[in-house]
């Protein structure tokens, strides 16, 4: 007897010029899951943005001058993890689903192994690197972040398909401490892209198809394509207005930080990029 496959919505909604709205949509998807049981796989992109983790200080993670001068927006997501540079050569994926009694590292492993499996299907020697990275050889090609609530899970990640690594190196401020033990002295030598590894230009659409198959196989679901509902968009827009576009969100750690006075005007400046 064949078991009935779960059905997940395949969503391709994206707002590349407004990374904060893109992030607000992520929270709207969690609400849809909690209230209506809608499981979603989403693919999306941002145009020139640094997305920092929930627990990071933007001014300690980005090169402020480069971001302002190059028009790179700096935004904060609602999940933990590290800062990443996004451009249209970077494919983001989000899985919103139910999974009782699992912890975040277990979920990262499940999703990370699926991404690695997909990359192996493209011919790359890819593997999941705990806690939340996927690498080709020793170089990082994708990172994951996520949230686990009461029975609900949101995992999102970014996969470097043909990202501008030179720009990434300029706008991210990666400490020497972070690079220690990796036997490298620069971000450039620590990350790679799918295109670089394949030796040809890979498109985000091509990689998206690969990831779709990998996720369907690993998590046992089928998809139906559907757009964001009017209700979800309205909720995302309200989150964008009231939360993501505010200095209080981007600088939420500043309120008790000794560097608040130096940093606050810079936070406000970053919001105007």
């Amino acid at each position: 007897m064949q078991l009935l496959m779960e059905e997940w919505r395949l969503l391709r909604f994206e707002s590349p010029e407004n990374p904060n709205l893109n992030l607000a949509v992520e929270e709207a998807l969690l609400k849809s899951l909690s209230e209506k049981g809608v499981k979603t796989l989403r693919f999306w992109r941002n145009s020139k943005a640094v997305v920092i983790g929930r627990f990071q200080c933007p001014l300690l993670e980005v090169n402020f001058e480069e971001c302002v001068n190059k028009g790179v927006k700096v935004v904060r997501r609602h999940t933990g993890g590290g800062a990443v540079y996004h451009d249209m050569g970077n494919l983001n994926f989000t899985l919103v689903f139910t999974k009782p009694l699992r912890e975040l590292p277990d979920i990262f492993r499940e999703v990370g192994e699926a991404v690695a499996e997909g990359l192996r299907a493209l011919g790359l020697k890819s593997s999941f690197k705990p806690m939340n990275d996927v690498a080709v050889g020793q170089r990082k090609v994708a990172g994951l972040a996520g949230y686990v609530g009461k029975g609900v899970v949101l995992v999102h990640g970014c996969l470097l398909v043909s990202t501008d690594i030179d720009m990434l190196s300029r706008v991210l401020s990666v400490s020497r401490e972070k690079l220690r033990d990796k036997f490298v002295t620069s971000v450039r030598s620590r990350v790679t892209t799918v295109s670089e590894e394949l030796g040809r230009d890979a498109s985000t659409r091509e990689v998206e198809e690969m990831l779709l198959e990998a996720f369907k196989h690993a998590l046992s679901f089928e998809v139906y394509e559907e757009d964001l509902s009017r209700e979800e968009l309205a909720y995302a827009e309200s989150l964008y207005q009231e939360k993501y576009s505010k200095a209080e969100w981007l600088g939420w750690l500043c309120k008790k930080c000794p560097l608040r006075n130096e940093h606050w005007s810079m936070i406000e400046r970053l919001l105007r990029v």
Binding site: G53, R54, F55, Q56, C57, L59, L60, N63, F64, T79, G80, G81, G82, A83, E103, L104, P105, P130, M131, A145, G146, V148, S173, S175, E177, K178, R180, D181, L253, C254, K256, C257, P258, L259, E262, H263, M266
Partner: protein, 98 residues
Amino acid sequence: MVLIGEHKAVGGKLIKVCLTLDEEGKISQAMFSGDFFVDPPDLLVELSDAIRGVKPEDVDQVEERVRRVIEGRGVAYGVSARDFAEAVAKARVTNEAP
């Protein structure tokens, strides 16, 4: 004067801390940040508040304060209470940006 410390945990997660000291060399203000995961999110603010009044070099005491908050209130992935304490112990005055 603000001191900044960084410590990389086993597994690669990086904890950063910005702090100030009072005239006795005890922590008067502190804020942790980094690429780890904690839940609930406000736990990070509580951790930062919890180490006030301790000397940065007193690693065991900082660790104990952090551990008590984590165990009482939530969960941290990728970093331990000891890692937070190590970041504090490494805090130095820095001229680097920002």
